[in-house]
Amino acid sequence: MKKEYLKIDKVVGPLIQISDVDDVFYGEVVDIVEISTGKVKKGKVIKIEEKNVIIQVFQNTAGLAAGNSIIKFTGESFNLPMSLDLQGRIFNGIGEPIDNGSDIFSLVEANINGRPINPMSREYPRNFIQTGISSIDTLATLIRGQKLPIFSGNGLPHNELAAQIVKQARLGDNVHEDFAVVFAAIGVKHDDEKFFRKSFDDANVMDRVVMFVNYADDPIAERITTPRCALTAAEYLAFEKHMHILVVMTDITSYCEALREISSAREEVPSRKGYPGYMYSDLASLYERAGMLKDQAGSITFLPILTMPNDDITHPIPDLTGYITEGQIVLGRDLFQRSIYPPVAILPSLSRLMKDGIGDGFTREDHAEVANQLFASYSKVQEVRDLSQIIGEEDLSPTDKKYMAFGRAFEAKFLNQGFDESRNIIQSLDLGWRLLALLPLTELDRLSPENITKYFPKES
């Protein structure tokens, strides 16, 4: 029988400190029972010094005081029961059902912290996923098993884009049998959560979605566990049940802010902008859980969404994320203001895994060249636009004028597409060729003569 404790020495934000404790282990889960109501809060041991223990409480610590609660050490790590029945269910950030359904019963339990995948056991991801979105499929191709975040800003349509990807992407070969979505909402508004729920309904996948929700008005310490619960469920479904899992997670910015708040409650030395020095490793312990394993079916494709404070890509949250993920899809405010949906800013966007998943046998032989040429030409458009700001479009050279026209057409026709419009990769590539044809052939130095002969649109 484990001991129970009555005396709380100190409450600082989400942390409580108790003394004279024996026989607890690092990472142990505790139940904090309010004596008057019998309500139970959960917490976890995050520091032990002799007989003093610091516990991070996942629910609100308001009202906690010496003498009004009993602290019980459970002798367990933070484990969740795992089962196929997770699908179609909704949980809070510590994995308790909040949909009035029954508890999950299972003999299989998993520690939500997971453990690092041995690089020897990984399979390098190479399978193209068609999202039906031209900018992504052509220029920042999503690969099954990839971690590819959406870098967005407040008010930009990142939720719509993620919902469109969920609706249109085909991850599994056998779409309805081996495919599921794990959705984690971290510190989101009730409206946003509703939007996703509705879009899963519309996409007809609700019975294949596992949801973990921590609302904006829920306790911040629970934001630390929300993504871990979700990824644990994803790992179980992908690596034990061999399903193809798409993990959508929003908003990583709320997660990092929670991390900062707890770190400051612990009085740790901050690094940039007050975020803790270990934020890189902490984020990596989430992002690196995506991937595929050798010699077995199943995958975790991970689409985290984050809102860049002040649209600043050098802010620690997008910065550290970009250093861990396999590329990023960046949304641009100027495109959004010009009503282009999805407003994917292609130049800072990147998919590091696309090189092995495109081309002959995957998409089409000309894919790499078309992508390169579109990048090079669109980047030249930016230069020409800068110049035209100074000398006026009228005074641009004839070639530069063509770049201006190409830039406008590219944004209006290629980037811009409907929320319900899905284009296959062949359509997207052909569209790319038609737009490139607006430029003089001599400017297209990334295209090989063979592909030009084969794909360059004939004047009709």
């Binding site: 282990f25 453990r115 270990y278 992002y287 991937g291 050098t314 861990i324 130049l347 800072p348 000398i391």
Partner: protein, 595 residues
Amino acid sequence: MAIMEENKINGMISAINGPVIKGKNMTTFKMREMVTVGDKRLIGEVIVLEGDMGTIQVYEETEGLKIGEKITPTGKPLSLKLGPGMLKNMFDGIQRPLEKIQELSPIFIPEGIGLLSIDDQKQWPTTLTVRPGDVLLAGSIFGTVQETEVIQNRLLVPPNLSGTVIEVVPNGSYTIEDVLVRIQDGKNQVYELKMAHEWPVRTPRPNAYRRETLVPLITGQRVIDIFFPIAKGGTAAIPGGFGTGKTMTQHQLAKWSDADIIVYIGCGERGNEMTEVIEDFPKLIDPRSGKSIMERTVLIANTSNMPVAAREASIYTGITIAEYYRDMGYAVAMMADSTSRWAEALREISGRLEEMPAEEGYPAYLPSRIAEFYERAGSVETLGGDDASITIIGAVSPAGGDFSEPVTENTKRFVNVFLALDKSLAYARHYPAINWLESYSGYIKILSDWYEDNVAEDCISLRNKMLELLYEENKLQEMVMLVGEDVLPDDQRWVLEIAKIIKVGYLQQNAYNKDDTYVPLEKQYAMLKAIEYLYERGREGLKLGIPTSQLKDLDIFSQFIKMKYTVPNDDLSGIDRLKEEIDQHYEVLFKKYEN
């Protein structure tokens, strides 16, 4: 191998804070001693001793540890077992083979698996090259083992032993634990020599003396070999924001450098990148040996989700392995991707120790740690009397891509080549995104003789001339952005045109193209020489009053942009034909203007 020594007094855990734990009853422990922690026997290292209290950094996940569990000393510092069996293998940050870990746990890496090391069961056909009576000095070679198809492991007398041979086994198959030779020193003390010996990772292995570095590390990458060369035995840093191409560049160097041995450390980076190396390297053929490049490669992986203390150690593990092969007389090149993650691991541990932070939370000893690390590079004469070298190439990942942060700044102080990766070049898909204005090589002067003797008399002056042209272009571009290109005089517009060829046709190099991924020096030189030729012929035309628009023949220009793909690496006649074409074209053009 038993790591617990008898008769040693155990300590006891008294505090746990992530990867840092405190213990008491530790008076008999030594600073930097390797210990096992708790019932699960996690591996750790003593980093602070104060009275009977000690602080330990733990190389494995500490979840589940309790106050009062025991801390067991091993009696030795954190050490590696150095012997055959490291090449073609991948290890974690403390030299545990990931393949063996996989046998114990197929997918995830659990804690408490103990101290594993190189294979001690494998039988290696061994040739002994000494006889009783021979005097063996420290670091000399007493036998050989063919470790891989291309690398012979030269069995070394450990750097701290010497003596006269009293016994040698016959040639035959042995494991790394078999005694092969017995030597006796002046005090009649007898030592056993095995294929492998242990060495503490934090102690640099000694050498006879340092020598000057006079030979470049040939990488097959134009912007490096011609513009910013790295000397064998030198140091280089590759700083850049995320996605600018640090890892790609490091992979390219690991694949194509003309070093004998490659030690590649994935320090706090992605798991998939290490998987990629394991999948790709065995398929790539080394242009020099004709064998797979994996045959000469050792991989160390502490991915970003592995324990952070082992990240700190991984850098030392890597450099110690590099020194071991250097001591056999090899030219070793070591890539560390990314040294910033190592520095951040230092910062995290320092924070948990509640040390006083200096800049941006980094400990005050950051600069000295960086210096010590890069100082382990160098060209040396080994204790055994051979020429050998270690070249270190470290990636740096500056926060926010801003080079004025502590890790980049301090690295800059201690390295001689700075290959600055540039976000705007990467956005424009100019790869490798090495910014030619910000990058530099401190080796140009001492390597110029080598280039003159081995490539061409004018190789370095050609390089200087083309670099100046690029500097000039940069100034002109600033003007263009103010007034447009049309108002520039023709000779300046010609500079812009040629600079564009240098940038697109020369500096850009496609790692995914099978010919362009590695380019021999002769072709690198010939390409640049041809560009210079076009530049000079054009200037003749300018003197005749021919406008740039006339000089810029679209067909010739597009051939220049594509010559990296169209001229095969082993047949440069295409470049001569291109020059002939220029001559023919300009002769006609010049005639028109001469009259």
